[in-house]
């Protein structure tokens, strides 16, 4: 399946809403039939808790759960399924690295480096930690087009840098970052790197090992999988150093009232009953993505964004926000006289789903003098014909507000 014409037919939402132009994929994608069915089938035919149940349903559920771990590892290019922990999402994954790993490493006077493109999930955890530890949060700024400045990164990296946390694709303005180069720069100074892959995983080529990521995080719900499941990949050399921050069943070697010994990564990250059905759903989503050609998908998304940028910019008074050199399928803009929310409301009434707001990147927008934008974000089921429709809607809205 390399972007077949009938891709939309795999997604039941479009059967129920034939007119829907779904351009809010950066917030969450739609789910294909195979993912919905996998979850349904699990609950109807295979449901049981895992954790060493010996009766057949539980034994099979445990196996299926671990099979998805291996599948994830293989999909992202990890060497071993043991490198992959299941979490409840990107936000959860990043917070675990902040509180479970970096907190123990960080001393007064150290610094953490992020970029101005950071989603709040890849900003606030570091900010809170820096504050607690009297460390410094260094922010690599972006230029007027929305590109990060590698020279600035180089200047900010020093002996006291303890982590570089970056984003594969800005969910707010679409910048596709030179992640491999950034990792290379950091590694030369011995600084580990966390990559927030929320916006790219699934539809972009990925191999965490050739990329060199030390920590890699993403959410199932942004790659056709269910809500409530995420992944934290940790490079083997850091696995001993990431401690659990949540405690409960399923993660222990031995518990006494006086002390507890924990299992190793990744099991030590999975306290409590895991989201078994969610993990099964993630497995189905990965199977779906495995059938796609990621090089093709990335191209498709970029070409949709390029097409939309050109089309929308033709409207007088419409301003693209961010014109980065390289980008994913995300276009942010403002329109004179029309607040982004009003714009999104008008588009919504036309069956066009876009998001308005700060997209959890408030400081980035503030640095651009903005409080909010309207954002269209594309996925594999979107087309230039849909963008044409949105263009017409934008023109009509502009007319109304004039």
């Amino acid at each position: 399946m390399t972007l077949p014409q009938n891709i939309k037919s795999h997604f039941p939402i479009f059967t129920h809403h034939p007119g829907l132009l779904y351009f809010d994929n950066a917030a969450t994608t739609q789910r294909p039939q195979v993912v919905i069915e996998a979850i349904e089938k699990f609950y109807k035919e295979e449901n049981a808790n895992i954790h060493r149940g010996v009766y057949p349903l539980s034994a099979r559920a445990s196996q299926a759960y671990e099979r998805v771990r291996a599948q994830v590892a293989n999909f992202i290019g990890a060497a071993n399924s043991k490198d992959v922990a299941f979490t409840s999402g990107t936000t959860d994954s990043i917070n675990r690295v902040a509180s479970g790993y970096l907190k123990k490493q960080l001393e007064e006077g150290d610094n953490i480096i992020i970029s101005a493109l950071a989603h709040h999930a890849n900003l606030i955890p570091w900010q809170m930690l820096a504050e607690e530890k009297k460390a410094e949060l260094r922010v690599i700024s972006v230029d007027a087009q929305g590109n990060v400045d590698l020279n600035e990164l180089l200047k900010k990296l020093d002996r006291r840098s303890r982590l570089l946390a970056i984003t594969s694709i800005s969910n707010s303005i679409g910048t596709l970052n030179p992640v491999a180069e950034m990792i290379d720069l950091a590694h030369r100074k011995g600084v580990p790197v966390l990559v927030d892959g929320a916006q790219s995983t699934g539809l972009y080529p990925l191999n965490v090992r050739t990329l060199g990521a030390d920590f890699y995080t993403f959410s199932a719900h942004k790659m056709f999988g269910p809500f409530g499941v995420g992944v934290l990949y940790v490079r083997p050399r850091y696995q001993d150093q990431i401690k659990p921050i949540h405690f409960g069943g399923g993660m222990i070697k031995r518990v006494q009232f006086s002390k507890t010994e924990f299992l190793d990564f990744p099991k030590n990250q999975e306290a409590g009953t895991p989201n078994v059905a969610g993990v099964i759903g993630l497995g189905a989503a990965i199977s779906f993505c495995e059938k796609l050609d990621q090089v093709q998908c990335a191209k498709h998304l970029k070409s949709l964004a390029a097409y939309a940028k050109e089309a929308f910019a033709s409207i007088d008074g419409l301003h693209l926000v961010g014109q980065p050199k390289d980008y994913g399928g995300i276009v942010s803009f403002t329109m004179d006289q029309v607040h982004p929310h009003d714009l999104a409301q008008f588009l919504g009434e036309e069956g066009i789903a876009v998001r308005a707001g700060h997209h959890c990147t408030q400081p980035l927008l503030e640095s651009m003098g903005l409080a909010a934008t309207t954002r269209a974000s594309f996925s594999i089921y979107n087309s230039t014909a849909e963008i044409d429709q949105m263009l017409e809607a934008l023109k009509a809205i502009k007319k109304f507000w004039e």
Binding site: H339, E350, A356, G357, H358
Partner: protein
């Protein structure tokens, strides 16, 4: 235009959005009241001048959608001349109105315009943004 939308974006709202009342940043920082919708980043500042427990002048400034801006404009206009108690009752009445209470009792055309948010519950927060902030301020 879609009739549902037309109902939401009534003339009175569009007008107040385009030409908001006393839309101006003021100096008196101590009397400033922030109204802030964290989810969308909208933010207004209100500036009240009070004399003998009566609001003698009201201004506002900031950034927000047409619904929140128009509603802030109408609020500002209505606040002027009111005592604190009257202002509180005004705000409480509006907040109740948006929640669907006392619909018959209200016969103010400008306020009635906001009844349309019933159909757009996501916009309720926009409609009440300023009113809630002023109400909280006056209740303190």
């Amino acid at each position: 235009m879609n009739p549902r939308l037309k109902n939401l974006y009534k003339e009175v709202i569009l007008m107040h959005n385009a030409k908001p009342f006393h839309f101006q940043k003021m100096e008196n920082e101590e009397g400033m009241i922030e109204a802030n919708n964290p989810l969308c980043g909208d933010r207004f500042q209100f500036f009240l001048q009070e004399e003998n427990g009566r609001i003698t002048a009201a201004h506002f400034h900031g950034f927000g959608c047409a619904i929140s801006k128009a509603s802030a404009s109408i609020l500002t206009q209505k606040l002027e001349g009111k005592t604190r108690l009257e202002a509180q009752s005004l705000c409480a009445g509006f907040l109740g109105f948006i929640e669907g209470e006392n619909r018959e009792a209200i016969s103010d055309q400008e306020i009635e315009a906001f009844a349309a948010v019933d159909e757009f519950p996501a916009r309720k927060d926009c409609a009440i943004l300023g009113w809630k902030a002023i109400n909280d301020y006056l209740s303190k």
